[in-house]
Symmetry: C2
Subunit: 195 residues, 2 copies
DNA sequence: GTCTATAAGTCGATAGAC
DNA sequence: GTCTATCGACTTATAGAC
């Protein structure tokens, strides 16, 4: 496993601590202790604690934006795009568990102007997600539901998947994608027509 | 609207601030400012900041436990119980939005022994929730899915509902229950047999 | 690039006057 | 029950020696 720069090590260490204790409750000294150095030494590699949070959230936000763009511009139909979105969340959750854990809550500790950049990225992502669900309804792949609530429901689970994955790392990624599509798109109930 | 005691006012004010800024980033002085008094005066009504968090999380946990007990011991069948659980989350979210917002993340800031009490309540609740889904599968109301992942998926959305509701308070509660049951149990996809 | 020392401020909580 | 004053610990971040 290739080792990153010391800066990257610090950022990854911070991500783990931010996930476990929260951004505010994690001190620069905590990060330094975990790195085996003094707090002041960290400042040779990072500008501030805030910069770490900013970097983590905006870089993971970029990954989601790029993934969304690829799926949106693909030749897949709307329901296939929806399935690919679920798969992308599963894959990014497995690859960037700690950074992703900051998305639901810790973004509130971003300062201006970083917080605005993050919220713009998030809003754009949700709009594009909503457009795909809307298209799936128009094309009769999906039932007529409250679209905003359906998108919220799917994204809530996908954004929290990191907490489930943290405790179940041995699951096969393909199986996780399959199960998530069942839970989020297909539904649990056995329809009366097929019983 | 009946006004509570000053202690209750403080706790409700703290809940709102904890939701918006997080427990750690909310100072006792912040709570006092919102109450229009000095920080030291709060201590005539509460023992500590930690006591507020403890009270909020354990009292809301009690409400869920009691609701679960009522549903579990009811004469409903398993799929009806599952629907009632969704309804209960919706109702408690509407009635206790701020306190419920602390469940996904802020419990990590509980100290011993309160944190253990909270986690015992939560684990019991999840076990009983899982048992009901399991029963629904055995009785062929629900498809054969990864039970733990399905429960996680449903609870993720229900625990995050407070954030959607905070921005959409005008929705009719009955409609919200109906839509959540569709998203979480029935599924979005139109099955091939019914098209 | 790492250290020691420290600045400048905030934290939760308490003492004691009124 | 509310206030002013304050304690001691902790916070992020910087200065400067090596």
């Amino acid at each position: 496993m290739k080792k990153g720069s010391k800066r990257e090590e610090i950022i990854n260490t911070a991500a783990l601590l931010f996930r476990k204790r929260g951004y505010t409750a994690t001190s620069v000294r905590d990060i330094a202790r975990e790195m085996g150095m003094e707090a002041s030494s960290l400042y040779n590699h990072i500008a501030s604690k805030q910069e770490i949070l900013n970097h983590l959230l905006l870089s993971i936000g970029q990954l989601f934006s790029e993934g969304m763009k690829d799926i949106k511009t693909s030749p897949l139909n709307s329901i296939q795009k929806l399935e690919r979105l679920v798969d992308m969340h599963v894959r990014l959750t497995i690859e960037h568990t700690d950074a992703i854990s900051l998305i639901p809550n810790e973004w509130i500790h971003l300062e201006a102007p970083a917080i605005k950049n993050f919220l713009v990225l998030r809003d754009e992502y949700e709009k594009e997600f909503t457009a795909i669900v809307s298209e799936a309804i128009d094309q009769s792949y999906v039932k007529e539901v409250n679209i905003e609530l359906a998108v919220f429901s799917i994204l809530s689970t996908l954004r929290w998947l990191y907490s489930w994955y943290s405790k179940n790392k041995s699951i096969n990624p393909i199986e996780l994608e399959t199960e998530m599509r069942k839970c989020l798109i297909d539904g649990l109930r056995i329809s009366e027509h097929t019983v």
